[in-house]
């Protein structure tokens, strides 16, 4: 992304102007009453928008989840981060040489040591464990969905990689 500019629109709401790498200009208005408006501007003629969408608060949140990859994770990406205030949800892939490979979640005592939680484990062979228990074994190349504050997640990665 090239840049995001934001400013107040007194009496109306807040405005974000986003210029994407593909040279599209997207303007998002968050109205004080909760409505969101998305405007797409032509790069050549920035005076008139080409199209616009109005969303209610609940629609906007749902779409944010879809765009943010909560509903469907794009295959090409190894790591996605979703931030909800302080809480961060992140996808983390276990590398084959990590210390934790072959151990159970209980053995390395993840939650106690780091504060972060493993919400789900996605194996290489499409094996899925939601809310894995302490006896679930961590395998190489599995993807973990972890939740916690930024520092806690960093601790968790450290523990998975080096054991401490």
């Amino acid at each position: 992304m090239k840049q995001i500019r934001d400013c107040d629109l007194p009496g109306i709401g807040h405005k974000y102007v986003i210029e994407t790498r593909s040279e599209d200009k997207l303007v998002i208005i968050i109205h004080d009453d909760g409505r969101r408006e998305l405007y797409h501007f032509d790069h050549e003629d920035p005076d008139d928008s080409i199209s616009m969408i109005t969303l209610d608060d609940d629609e906007a949140r749902q779409i944010a989840g879809i765009v943010g990859g909560l509903a469907y994770k794009p295959k090409a990406l190894e790591k996605i981060e979703v931030a909800l205030d302080e809480l961060i949800i992140e996808w983390y892939k276990i590398e084959p040489h990590a210390v934790c490979v072959g151990k159970t979640i209980g053995e390395i005592n993840v939650r106690h040591q780091s504060g972060a939680t493993i919400i789900a484990m996605l194996g290489k062979d499409n094996e899925r464990i939601i809310n894995p228990g302490p006896d679930s074994v961590l395998k190489a190349h599995s993807t973990l969905v972890v939740a916690g504050e930024r520092q806690q997640i960093m601790n968790l990665k450290q523990i998975l990689m080096n054991g401490e």
Partner: protein, 415 residues
Amino acid sequence: MEHVVLELGLAVALIALAGLLSTKLRFSVIPFYILVGMAVGPHAPKFGNFDFRFIHSAELIELLGRLGVLFLLFYLGLEFSVGRLIKAGKSIAIGGTIYIVINFTLGLLFGFGAGLPLQEVLIIAGITSISSSAIVAKVLVDLKRTANAETEMILGIIMFEDIFLAVYISVLSGLVLSGASSIGGVLLSAAIALGYMLLFIVVGRKALPLLNKLFNIRSNELFLLAVFALLFIVAGFSETIHVAEAIGALLVGLVLAETEHMKRIEHLILPFRDFFGALFFFSFGLTIDPFSLGGAVWLSLGAVVITLIGNYVAGMLAGRSAGLSPKASSNIGLTIVSRGEFSIIIANLGKAGGLLPILQPFSALYVLILAILGPLLTKESKHVYNFLNRIFKLDRNYKKQLAAKTEVKRVEDPS
């Protein structure tokens, strides 16, 4: 006064109907409120037994309308923040100054040209200078212009006008309400008004911790009562020292905006502003004798033409100063041309000061025309621009600039 509640109910029903009609027609509601007020005022004709003239309840409605002004200005004060203005930046200060200087000067020249006395001229210049925040903000949202490049500039100019309005009303109310006749007396009363404002804001800032504590009330009922008490007492007290009530309300808003309860107050006060605000426009309509409008037609039309030209020129200049395209700049002038609540508030100040009665029908016609014309011009801004562009070649310089820019780009980047 026996059926006063029924009369009030009918009045509110009429206002609601006018509002519904205006939204159906996709117009601004303000002219409709005024028109319906004029239609049922004490000057309206009576049809046999059907007497729709709101005479018994006129006093009550006038009082409610007065409260409407207080809520309008109180809300303005709450919303206003210096931090926001500073953040908005230099371009807006320049644009706002251009706008105010051009419009105010034109208003003064127009007033003197019409051969009116000084105080009336100052009122007229105020009426023609300040556009309606309510209409402009609504038009921008309705026409889906919020994302446009010029919108920040438009809202900035409106904010800038709001400050000008506050200072101007305070000076003007000192001048008009105190009845001072000598230059020294006028300066003194204006100084008292300004000094009162400054003192209030400084004391309000110092008392912030106290206010935070004082308004730390859990019950919504008691909270609302406390806010209203403060609002009415300060507004009423201001009037006793010849500072307009509206300024008192604005000051309370400015001070309370700094407290931690600002969001809650804003939320609670909004329905009151909407309800009493509507009654304000209606009660303004009530005071207008439709047959007196004739005498003010030429004056109002003249002022409208001058406002249109002044706004367009100011918009083009302000837009250029911020590096906007001529088309976007043209939108600025066409959008902020709407006049409404603030023009009427200033006109009412003239009435309170006992100035020439022509100010009332003048401001009514002027506001009616521009409150209808403004949103229309904004909507059709593309056609207005294309039309004016054909005559004045507004985009001449801009095209050259653009060409020069792309030339530079090409030189830098041979691909």
